[in-house]
Amino acid sequence: MNSNRAQLVEPVGPDDHVEGPADAAITLVEYGDYQCPYCGQAYAIVKKLQSDFGSSLRLVFRNMPLTNVHPQAELAAETAEAVALQGKFWPMHDVLFENQRDLSATALLRYAEEVGANASEVASALSDGVVRKRVKDDVESGIRSGVNGTPTFFVNGERYDASWDYESFRDYLKDVLEQS
């Protein structure tokens, strides 16, 4: 490992949102913001990478809403976490990135219902502060890990500083896989 690169300080744990097997050779942790257009681009690229690498890739998503530039990102993140309490995080995550142009409070509750969540339970999770703490904890772990913008990716615990365009990222992950 290149010790000059920032390292993930909070290991992937049972509270994380994970897609892919625990023994995958590659663990890709993304710190993202639902209102960030670059994260929207990265969403499609990560989907392709998941399809390319199959069970060799485990994806983890953590929240990094940059609320100073993205005023709707915090509520979107909290709503996704509220939906996650009902076991439907990934469908909600996908719907949010596919509908970045409308992240109003009304739209968020509509998306929650569309993915099969109970909207009134989502609303009460939002008001009782539990999900706000979850997002805040993600932000702090990201800050302490050297997240330097959105999206920031960590590959097997090390910050990925090169380009995340599809070809570059795929080729890098191929190398990681071959060396594993």
Binding site: L66, T67, N68, V69, I143, G146, V147, N148, G149, T150
Partner: protein
Amino acid sequence: MTTNTSDVFAPSAPLQPGARAPEFSLFAAPGQKVTLTELEGPVVLIFYPADWSPVCSDELSMFESANSLFSDRGAQLLGIAVDSVWSHVAFKADRRLNFPLLADFHPKGEVARSYGVYRDQDGVTERALFVLDAEHDVAWSHVSPIGISPGVDGALRAVEALS
């Protein structure tokens, strides 16, 4: 005679831990100066190349997200770039940053030079971070590649190590 331009300019030599932080008094807004000697507690100086650039925006947004972690330790964040105060005012409002952006504008880059992080080759500051302790001695410094946002973790660890 031709000279490779990369040979003409000395590499940046950022002040190292233990050095006395050079004093400065710079405009943060029209008519409003920030003076180092008037600040109490630790200070984090965030030298960045330019208002409006995407990498700088990411970097400063990350510091904004971490602002409360710094203020919990009594530390004050200060951005510094060579842009004019009017650019800073517009940039700060647009990005909704709650810490001051100081204009190292005239004489251009004088403060950056005093910290060893002015880039003569392109007339901007390095992407550099300094953590000053409560006595305003340099406790930690770091220069990033100009195109890579450094993140906040190094400066935060340095501030937390002060107490």
